[in-house]
């Protein structure tokens, strides 16, 4: 039986939509993962090797161990958000003559394949090689390895247990996150020391190998807690999120804009009520805080080209995240749009106002960066104008290239379903055009004129909005059959 389970899992993985991509995208994604992995590994090796130099006052092993508990807490939080509870995958087996205990053990065993369980390898192996191997015996190191392994698996099963129990109120995860930050702060101000506690547990394993019994006990407890609740509750409906009555909110303000307001309202609801778009929203703060990576450093403050890039990025979070999948967002009901909407000019204008409006708001929010220099304010203003006058039309024009159905019910992290070349191509003109406008002025030594030129181009775009919108609509009318055909294809 187990053979069949494994065979089916393998088939499922091989046939998942993730692999169903063009070669170019597979390579792109593969490259991305490789870079991430590589950076992680190099960082980990560097850190392990230089521990003694980074913290000259502390014992490197104790210092490292003081972070371990925090690491696991973070891991727990990340799993809580991203790791799937694998219960539903056994639904097709439930009616078959199989022992429940077999199914439950299979479900729990499957969770071990989660990639979160493999991250610690990158983090711990260099530490063990550089800091433990030269000074400790084989037995001590073996005990340490197993205690870490047991803890990783404990976190794995604990997170499943809690996620299953609390799947309806994810705010608990937020509370947990705040708790970690709070404990970190208390640690920093030397009020409570979680770090010391962490050191105590994991360093003691090295001196007293029997201490591995502690994580082993936690692991067994976590496994059996899961096992018990699953055996008694192996009903798919109990493992789904409980559906409560939904609260319906209307944005009254938009109603006064008639049909356009209504279309905007629809897009906003689309964003708030579907998992995929909703989970992109957590990136907004990253966009807005982007300035903090650059502005505090003198070198960047003199690189105006770089600042233009930052400005475009910060004033256009919705433009970029929402813009890259315009039309695709609506793929599940696109035939309804085509048969009911008679005026596509209006349809696209609704999308334009969403992008332009949010850019304006983002500009207001990022105004305090002016504290780093008034020229930053000027650059961001020029970028905002460009993100209002020109870039939305580029986005809308290219949106007619989107023809892949987007499954809105899955989260966006590491989700490459519905991704095509369009999304990669899109970012090129958005960033490149403003820089190209700026470049000749900069070459002739007048950077400020270049910035002004970007802003003026944006204003011109606003002035010629009717013409630009016509280009968008005409291209859409030409390509609508191809788009609709692609969207019907569920793959």
């Amino acid at each position: 039986m187990l053979k069949w389970f494994i065979r089916n899992e393998w088939r499922e993985m091989k046939r998942s939509s993730m692999w169903n991509q063009s070669v170019a995208i597979k390579m792109m994604v593969g490259f991305l993962f490789f870079i991430l992995f590589f950076e992680f590994l190099v960082g980990s090796i560097y850190f392990s090797d230089k521990l003694g130099e980074i913290f000259p006052d502390d014992d490197p092993v104790e210092k490292f161990n003081s972070f371990v508990l925090y690491g696991f807490a973070m891991g727990f939080l990340m799993r809580f958000f991203m790791q799937k509870v694998p219960v539903l995958t056994i639904q097709p087996y439930l009616h078959l003559p199989l022992r429940k205990s077999l199914l439950v053990n299979f479900v729990l065993g499957k969770s071990l394949l989660s990639f979160f369980n493999f991250i610690p390898i990158i983090l711990f192996v260099p530490f063990i090689i550089f800091q433990l191997a030269p000074w400790f015996t084989g037995l001590q190191i073996t005990a340490y390895v197993f205690s870490i392994l047991f803890t990783v698996l404990s976190v794995n099963f604990l997170s499943i247990y809690f996620k299953r129990g609390l799947s309806t109120n994810s705010w608990i995860a937020g509370v947990f996150g705040l708790l970690i930050i709070l404990l970190g702060l208390l640690d920093f101000y030397k009020i409570v020391s979680v770090g010391k506690f962490s050191t105590l547990i994991f360093t003691s394993v090295l001196t007293q190998p029997l201490m591995i019994l502690l994580p082993l006990l936690v692991l067994m407890a976590a496994y059996f807690a899961n096992y018990r609740t699953l055996v008694s509750g192996l009903y798919p409906e109990e493992n789904r999120k409980a559906k409560k009555g939904v609260a319906v909110h209307e944005i009254k303000y938009l109603k006064q804009f008639g049909a356009i307001g209504q279309l905007m309202q629809l897009e906003i609801k689309l964003f708030l009520r579907n998992k995929r778009p909703k989970s992109t929203l957590i990136f907004i703060p990253i966009f807005l805080l982007y300035g903090f990576f650059f502005y505090p450093q003198k070198i960047y403050l003199e690189m105006t080209g770089m600042l233009i890039f930052v400005g475009l990025f910060m004033t256009g979070p919705i433009l970029m995240m929402y813009g890259q999948y315009i039309l695709s967002w609506e793929s599940s009901y696109f035939d309804g749009i085509l048969t009911n909407i008679g005026d596509f000019n209006r349809y696209f204008r609704a999308k334009y106002y969403l992008m332009a409006g949010t850019t304006f708001v983002a500009f207001l929010v990022t105004m305090p960066y002016a504290l780093y220099g008034t020229h930053i304010l000027m650059i961001n203003l020029a970028c905002a104008l460009f993100n209002i006058g020109i870039n939305p039309y580029i986005v809308l024009f290219l949106s007619s290239n989107n023809k892949k159905r987007l499954d809105l019910s899955q989260g966006s992290a590491f989700n490459y379903q519905g991704v095509s070349g369009t999304q990669f191509i899109l970012s090129i003109p958005i960033f490149l055009v403003p820089l190209l406008i700026y470049l000749p002025f900069w070459a002739f030594g007048n950077a400020n004129a270049g910035i002004a030129a970007i802003g003026i181009t944006g204003l011109a775009g606003i002035g010629f909005n009717k013409v630009l919108m016509n280009f968008v609509v005409q291209r859409f009318e030409r390509r609508k059959y191809i788009i609709a055909d692609g969207f019907r294809n569920k793959n």
């Binding site: 009555g245 939904v246 209504q262 599940s332 009901y333 696109f334 085509l338 809105l408 969207f487």
Partner: protein
């Protein structure tokens, strides 16, 4: 009213629909039957300008559907779940459709009242998104939304599929009323020969993209169709 001329549709060189001439008159109730792959949905999609014809055209009120948008104002349609905005509640969806078709609040209220029996208390006021409704209730939402604007032309693809027996009977009654009172031109496809003969006065059998029969309904029609498909 709906004028089909030299219409063909090919996929990869294979002809899936070939209609040299088909005229559907105003007020006609037009039923389309045929086995899977006969071209029913393809034809409806061509009428609604959802796919591009390989050759020929469909005209609604002398307007080629691929070149104009006016026909959309008088046409109500529901083919499949690709028409439903499933993250809205039914009420929100109807409001959205009312907005698109410029229908007043009062008319929307009347619409709710008219469809109360059809919904059978399972659609409105449930505080559920459409995606959380059962397939049958989603189907009800789609059919009702197609009728919301009181269209002159109604296009439904297999509307009886997934409906419970009570609703099937109510839908037949509703469609017959529309035909007699409002004179709505109807295009309906179905796999159920009983239903289609209950509702439609003209029945066309499609087979491999071509018209095999074009019958004005009489007492023998059901028998004739059954014999055709049994053979």
């Amino acid at each position: 009213m709906i004028d089909t001329r030299n219409l063909t549709k090919q996929y990869g060189g294979q002809v899936v629909l070939d209609l040299p001439y088909l005229l559907i008159k105003k007020g006609e109730s037009f039923g389309l039957v045929g086995n899977n792959g006969a071209g029913k949905t393809t034809y409806f999609r061509l009428i609604l300008d959802l796919i591009r014809a390989t050759s020929g055209e469909v005209m609604i009120n002398n307007e080629i559907v691929a070149h104009g948008e006016n026909w959309k104002k008088i046409t109500g349609s529901f083919l499949d779940e690709n028409f439903l905005i499933d993250f809205l509640t039914p009420e929100e969806y109807f409001e959205f459709m009312a907005g698109v078709h410029h229908i007043s609040k009062g008319d929307l209220e009347n619409f709710y009242a008219e469809f109360e029996t059809f919904f059978n208390g399972e659609v409105l006021g449930k505080k559920k998104y459409i995606r959380d409704l059962s397939k049958g209730n989603q189907q009800k939402v789609g059919i009702a939304a197609a009728l919301l604007s009181k269209p002159e032309i109604l296009v439904l693809d297999e509307p009886f599929n997934g409906l419970d027996p009570t609703t099937q009977i109510r839908l037949i009654k509703l469609l017959n009323q529309l035909k007699e009172i409002s004179g709505t031109t109807m295009l309906i496809s179905s796999h159920d020969l009983n239903h289609i003969t209950d509702v439609c006065n003209r029945i066309v059998v499609l087979h491999e993209g071509k018209i095999h029969k074009d019958i004005q309904k009489n007492d023998n029609t059901l028998k004739e169709l059954e014999d055709y498909f049994a053979a």
